[in-house]
């Protein structure tokens, strides 16, 4: 599930806040290129996308977005270091086979990374698991265990722990539930977490 499916177009406004004019932007899993086309229009960015789904790639090309048909996990290696100002990964980190390598790759080719993911620590997920005794199924995680694209479940706490271990800096973070800001207890209340991160200065 993509961020925009969770809270409408709020992610556009949010990502638009994060991304300055004329930035070089790579969107991993860019879908039909709607976000990139919108950022091109609004912010005159240099837009690049990666998308695995052939039909979506064709839609993105038809709307004039530069897109590479490929798997985002295996597509990062070709880009040169520092090729982008921002690399966006919206809502697919939990689908990656090697999430840490993906994040490392993003921060190799981009000065900043925007990472959004569904929070597995949300109280509904916890409750569903506790009460049913089954793999949790919620609006955010609607799949059965056997057909879910999600293979790495992470929470807000998990993600921040990883950032600390990697000594990556959090520049901004946002938490959302039902399209609204979550101000307290994000690991319990946030459905979606969005981080703007970079390597720390010492690196």
């Amino acid at each position: 599930m993509k961020v925009k499916e969770v809270f409408g177009r709020a992610d556009y406004a949010l990502i638009s806040e994060l991304i300055p004019n004329r930035a070089r932007v790579l969107d991993l899993g860019c879908g039909d290129g709607a976000l990139l086309a919108w950022l091109k229009e609004q912010k005159q960015i240099q837009a690049r996308g990666v998308e695995r789904d052939r039909d979506l790639v064709q839609k993105a090309i038809a709307r004039g977005v530069t897109v590479y048909q490929g798997d985002f996990e295996n597509s990062l290696a070709e880009y040169p270091p520092g090729a982008f100002d921002y690399v966006i990964l919206s809502q697919t980190l939990q689908e990656a086979r090697r999430p840490l390598e993906v994040l490392e790759g993003m921060l190799r080719i981009g000065r900043h990374a925007v990472v959004a993911f569904p929070n597995f620590g949300h109280w509904r997920v916890r409750l569903a698991h506790l009460l049913s005794g089954r793999a949790p199924k919620t609006a955010l995680f609607p799949h059965e265990w056997y057909n879910s694209p999600n293979i790495h479940f992470l929470t807000v706490v998990d993600f921040e722990e990883l950032l600390a271990r990697q000594r990556w800096a959090i520049e901004k973070k946002f938490f959302l539930a039902a399209g609204r800001d979550v101000r307290a207890l994000p690991n319990l209340l946030a459905e979606v977490a969005i981080y703007l991160i970079r390597k720390s200065e010492a690196d």
């Binding site: 070089r24 052939r54 064709q58 897109v67």
Partner: protein, 373 residues
């Protein structure tokens, strides 16, 4: 709409082999109208056996080889764009080639025609485009050998094109591709009528050329498309003949295509053009493919097809990844098709949407004329 093939003549053309051709003719066609800024011109490059007749119908009512892609409302929309297609150097459809008259002897060149390359073909096209007063093409595109020419344009004349669309193509032939071409050449040269290339005025090496074409046709299709089209069906019979006439549908088809080809193609052109394809290597003279592509400044749309085993996707990806390695503006899409290498000619549907969108963007985001190297 009946289209006329036009002709241009150039005094001389310097070739990569070191020789110079004098009095070079080029056959070409155009569709649509050139705008006053001369910014909407598209150069279409034909594949190995194609010609200048890419769209519309000729006097015999024959549609162009890419008529499903070029025309009003089509991928290359002639309501918006001015489309040019010329027959390649070495061809036999109006442009100077081995069947043309050698001015120094008054006889057909035959194998005395100098060896040619893809970059020679492109150099001649550049002269044609210059003669039309077009400084920068909106795009240069083509499938197969046409894609090789498009890539050569991007590297040889980087300021002369806004974008490049190589389809089902490669930056260099693999051993397998060279091997198929060599098999075709050997079939032609083994024909007793070949006569060292001097068969003009007598019977052409029709059997050899037909066999070469049969091999070619197999490589243009896919296992799946052949299974669908022919399977093991017998041709006009229920039992085997226990002879060597035609038993199977596929035999009949290949024989037919082979014999038809002889009527429209010159065996010497087959030799010269396939050799030019085999010689082509975009990275020649550079340390790497990426280094050669560093010369390019245009945008790229690179298309391959899932079932194309003659020009497999990995060859397109080689170019795509060399461009991505320096974050060049390259779009890549592998379209789904059962038609094998032929897909670029017959599968217009999906190509239309993406090429239309890509061209509209290229038109809108044209580089300023001063943004030159």
């Amino acid at each position: 709409m009946v289209v006329e093939t036009q002709f241009a003549r150039f005094d001389s053309l310097d070739l990569d082999c070191g020789e110079t051709l004098h009095g070079v003719d080029v056959a070409y066609e155009t569709y649509g109208a050139l705008n006053s800024a001369k910014s909407n011109a598209i150069l279409i490059e034909h594949a190995f056996s194609g010609d200048a007749h890419a769209a519309g119908v000729d006097h015999e009512g024959k549609p162009g080889w890419w008529d499903n892609m070029i025309g009003p409302g089509k991928a290359f929309d002639t309501n918006k764009y001015f489309v040019i297609c010329s027959n390649v150097l070495g061809g036999c459809r109006g442009t100077t080639g081995p069947s043309s008259i050698d001015p120094s002897t008054g006889k057909p060149w035959g194998l005395r025609f100098p060896g040619i390359t893809i970059s020679d073909m492109v150099r001649l096209q550049k002269m044609l485009v210059d003669s039309m007063g077009i400084e920068r093409l909106l795009t240069v595109t083509g499938g197969s050998m046409g894609g090789m020419q498009a890539l050569e344009w991007a590297v040889a004349y980087p300021d002369s094109l806004e974008s490049c669309i190589p389809i089902a193509s490669t930056a260099r032939h693999s051993a397998q591709q060279i091997a198929f071409n060599e098999t075709g050449r050997q079939a032609i040269m083994a024909d007793p009528d070949f006569n060292g290339g001097d068969y003009y005025g007598g019977p052409p090496p029709a059997r050899g050329l037909a066999v070469a074409r049969m091999v070619g046709h197999i490589t243009y299709m896919s296992d799946e498309s052949m299974r669908e089209k022919f399977g093991r069906r017998l041709r006009n019979r229920d039992t085997f003949s226990f002879g060597f006439g035609i038993d199977f549908e596929v035999e009949s088809y290949l024989r037919y295509r082979g014999s038809q080809f002889v009527n429209r193609f010159d065996a010497n052109s087959y030799l010269y053009i396939t050799k030019a394809m085999d010689y082509f290597d975009l990275s020649a003279g550079y340390p790497s493919l990426a280094a050669s592509l560093e010369r390019a400044v245009c945008r790229f749309l690179i298309i391959s097809f899932t079932s194309d085993w003659l020009y497999p996707s990995y060859q397109s990806l080689e170019v795509v990844n060399a461009l991505r390695a320096r974050n060049h503006d390259v779009t890549f899409c592998e379209l789904s098709s059962n038609y094998g290498h032929d897909a670029f000619l017959v599968d217009a549907g999906e190509q239309t949407g993406i090429i239309g969108g890509f061209l509209a963007r290229c038109m809108k985001e044209r580089r300023a004329p001063e943004v030159c190297r």
